[in-house]
Amino acid sequence: MITTGSKLFFGATAAAILATLLFIFGAHHEGVYTGAWTLITLAAALAFLGGINAWFRDADPNAAQVEALSAADAEGRVPAAGPVVTPSLWPVLGGVATVLMLVGLVYERRTFVLGLLLLVTVLLEWMVLAWADRYSSDPAANAAIRSKIMRPLEFPVLGAIVGFFVVLGFSRVMLSLTETASVVVFAGVALVIFLVAVALAARPHLKQAIVTTLLGIGAVAVLAGGIASATIGERHVDVELECNKDFGPNQVADKSALLAEITVNEAGADVTDLPAPYATPVNVRMINKTGDDQRFLLTTEDGKVVAAQSCLVGNDQAALFTLRFARPGVFHYGTEERPNLGTLRVL
């Protein structure tokens, strides 16, 4: 008989057929055949599912009881109820998992692995749920036994997942903010957590709902911030890939690791003779105070440009060179127009 679930599928089939017709007559471009075939296939699949559903009636647990009721015997006695089946999302998620795995086989490994993990979870949970449903005839007792067995697994895993996303979100936020702003946000969040903790400690009899809401708001805020920041992207966006920019995110370490800081203005460089060691990385920072954009570079004595070049650096900005020389030698540093503003002697 046509149950609710079957009706859903047949309805969807009809919708798919309608969509196909609309698509064929509405679209005027190259992909029309592909699109049409996709929709026709979809319609066929939905029809197939609807047929199976109607024939086997698996999706409607109460159908058995309805049938039993309608099949009352001559004395009017109704058979005892069948097994209670707890409705759940696991079957649907199982379908999602399978689809993800299939897509992942074609598209990208991460999707496949995600689908696989989800499938394993679904199998485990569905299996335990089915077992619990046969434990007794009391749904409350079944739910209790299921919880007792699964909660020690579910809670840590869920906790780890939530923790992972909170940390990920927060790290995206930190990466996208400027240095000062990240300090402010970091301190601010810590302060907020501390104040909330103090408030909770001062009033220990808060309702569980309030605590849950607070935590929920916090988690959502972090996640939202993370998504927003991930969209904005990290600071120091690469404009030109093959040149040195100024300090990376770790300004403190870079500043302490400087061999020299050279300021270049119209008259020239303030350091004209710079000894440096070989076989170890050294950092040299060049600051542009000429008033125009400059490109800093390093050349050998013969004038050949050494691999390190700077990006176009505006006035009052700087470029950081991290250099590693294999052997002693003499190099010159300067700008594109005036390459010999100073000598770097590798001793």
Binding site: P79, A80, G82, P83, Y135, S136, S137, A141, A144, I145, K148, I149, R151, P152, L153, P156, G248, N250, A253, S256, A257, T280, P281, T322, R324
Partner: protein
């Protein structure tokens, strides 16, 4: 088709008929024999296991030290090779700090915190057992390097990049890193456990400012552990990933700053030294009042200074890095903060002397060790203040002067404090006294030995002998003092031997007196050794030094304190509680702990073992969660948490 109602195999917690639990989840029942030790969750048994392990590693670390001193007894020594020497001093430091001082502190804290606050056990007894098993497995794992290709050889401080595979290709450092991660997990779990115990499970009337000082100092230590261990765990993970999975966290060629390791390590390392010393300070604060027959002078100041040390200890770490190339501003700031952390420590020393002053001093061995701590720690603390003067430190750091400083505070401070604790609490734990005669030999040998060993190190350090060197040249002026130091080391060894003999022989001594020292605090208000449930009745506490005030009262005529009750009378008057609920033994803690070294082996040798170890850990955690709350025939009440008594007022 009717269903038949089946009886479940797992208990549903709603009382009623109980079926037998599934076999694998039955709780063990052994109360005697080796099985009872493996499955115990009794804090006292766990503490004894910690203590025995710690003393074993004390001897191991001591042997490593003796080999070092044999090598250094003469210039250009040839007793051990340079490689072996580097392994010896690395393992000596690591063993003494992580495998001796921390666990012996854990032993004392585990045994006495519940007793001193009037509880029957700690807040999470199975977690307590897990902490011990994880510790011992981690300790063994750490030392496996000796047998599997060479022990760690980068120094206990393991500076990068020298700790990388390029400069130390053997697996020794991997065993070190993973072993410390495992013991770190053990200590972190223990810290959470003890914090909850102290905050939630005190006897009625025991306000936080009525707690014994030992418990107070231990509470500060647990907070320090909870915050400091994650820092070193992060550092260890970074190192482990660098060595085993190709990360470049400390590789300057990849743009890293090697000072990152130093900052992470010392951010942990400095609070760590306060973790090492504060329990000993707590013990001394118990011992001195008992043997001076006077309460601790200035209890609030001593407690607050302990907390102050805990806080201020976070602001001084870079004094270990004065020569590393921090700029002058950082150096100046840390110089000042380091100077000021001497203030709360000084307060304690003066308050201890003030406790003795005007008292009636009984010079038992325990008291001798406590007084010895005052003297020796003062010397070590003062050389520490000279370190705070950072220009002077630029000469002192990385020389034997530093070695002198920290051995005075650790040996003369922490170890003397623990020995004071041994002699004081031995009758409580084992029901027998340690011999006072042997004890005095123990004390004097250790005192003279340590001064001969570490005293001259001040001199040779300032004369220019660097540390961590497997040999020194003749003609530098180091020869004579190094010989003296080596002789001193063997005298210390003799002193330790006397202690071990004393401990073993104590079995033959007469059985306990109920209150041998006429003590002041709650742990003495029960039998020696205590019953598994600690107290027949949880006492209600009215004052600091509750036991003393039950025995003594003010004479209305003279105003002096006179003894009005003997100990056994006090115990009798305490009565007996009707329902005593105790946690049941369990084998899941050792099972979880066992998965950790398997996982660690996997990191080093074969990645499949990582999965095996992880499955063992996770599976055992699952069993831990699933096992029934109590033994099958314990009456069906209660849970795994040793229940607290009525709500304690938090004062």
């Amino acid at each position: 088709m009717a269903l038949i109602e089946r009886k479940g195999q797992l208990e549903l917690g709603d009382g009623g008929d109980r079926a037998e639990p599934i076999g694998v989840f039955t709780r063990p029942m052994a109360e005697t024999g080796w099985r009872s030790w493996v499955t115990t969750v009794d804090h006292k048994k766990i503490a004894i296991m910690y203590g025995v392990s710690a003393i074993f590693f004390f001897v191991v670390g001591g042997i490593e030290a003796l080999l070092i001193r044999l090598q250094l007894a003469q210039p250009n020594g040839k007793v051990v090779s340079a490689q072996l020497y580097n392994e010896l001093f690395t393992m000596h430091g690591t063993t003494m700090i992580f495998l001796f001082v921390i666990p012996i502190g854990a032993a004392f804290m585990n045994y006495f915190i519940p007793l001193q606050v009037g509880a029957r056990d700690v807040a999470f007894p199975r977690l307590n057992a897990f902490s011990f098993w994880a510790f011992i497995f981690g300790a063994i794992f750490l030392n496996l390097g000796w047998f599997l290709g060479g022990a760690a050889d980068g120094g206990w401080f393991m500076y990068a990049p020298n700790s990388g595979t390029l400069f130390s290709p053997s697996h020794g450092i991997d065993f070190w890193t993973l072993g410390l991660i495992i013991t770190g997990i053990a200590s972190t779990a223990g810290a959470v456990n003890l914090i909850v115990t102290v905050l939630n499970m005190r006897a009625p009337g025991m306000k936080i400012m009525r707690m014994p000082v030992f418990t107070w100092m231990s509470l500060v230590v647990q907070f320090l552990l909870v915050f400091a261990l994650p820092v070193i765990t992060v550092a260890l993970f970074l190192l482990m990933f660098q060595r085993n999975f190709g990360a470049t966290f400390f590789n300057p060629d990849a743009g890293a700053d090697p000072l990152l390791w130093q900052h992470l390590f010392w951010l942990f390392g400095h609070p760590e030294v306060y973790i090492l010393i504060l329990p000993a300070f707590g013990i001394v604060s118990e011992v001195l009042p008992v043997f001076s027959k006077k309460p601790l002078f200035g209890y609030p100041f001593v407690v607050f200074s302990g907390a102050a040390i805990g806080f201020m200890g976070w602001g001084v770490w870079a004094h270990h890095m004065f020569a590393s190339g921090l700029g002058p501003i950082s150096v100046a700031v840390f110089s000042i903060t380091t100077m000021f952390i001497a203030v709360p420590t000084g307060v304690k020393i003066i308050n201890w002397i003030a406790t003795m002053w005007g008292g009636r001093l009984r010079l038992t061995t325990s008291m001798l060790f406590a007084i010895g701590l005052i003297g020796m720690f003062t010397i070590g603390g003062l050389s520490g203040v000279t370190h705070a003067v950072s220009p002077a430190d630029l000469q002192q750091t990385d020389t034997y002067y530093v070695v002198a400083h920290f051995h005075y505070v650790l040996f003369g401070g922490a170890i003397f404090g623990f020995f004071a604790g041994f002699y004081y609490w031995w009758p409580k734990v084992f029901g027998r006294m340690l011999s006072e005669r042997l004890g005095k030999w123990n004390f004097w040998l250790m005192l003279i030995g340590m001064n001969l060993t570490f005293g001259p190190m001040h001199i040779v350090g300032l004369q220019g002998q660097p540390r961590r060197t497997y040999r020194y040249a003749p003609g530098m002026g180091f020869d004579m003092w190094n010989k003296v130091e080596s002789v001193g080391a063997f005298i210390i060894a003799l002193g330790v031997l006397v202690f071990l003999i004393n401990a073993i022989q104590s079995r033959k001594h007469k059985a306990y007196e109920l209150d041998p020292w006429d003590a002041r605090t709650l742990e003495w208000m029960t039998t020696s050794p205590p019953q598994p449930h600690n107290f027949d009745a949880i006492p209600t506490v009215h004052t600091l030094d509750e036991f003393f005030h039950r025995k003594y009262d003010e004479d209305p005529a003279t105003g002096a304190m006179i003894k009005v009750k003997e100990a056994d009378q006090v115990l009798e008057e305490m009565g007996r509680d009707e329902h005593i609920h105790m946690p049941s033994p369990s084998y899941w803690p050792i099972a979880v702990a066992f998965g950790l070294p398997i996982l660690a082996f996997g990191v080093i040798y074969s990645h499949i073992l990582i999965v095996v170890g992880a499955l063992m850990v996770l599976g055992s955690l699952y069993g831990w969660a699933m096992e029934p709350a109590t033994e099958p025939d314990s009456g069906g009440h209660g849970g795994d948490v040793a229940p607290s008594t009525e709500l304690v007022s938090h004062g």
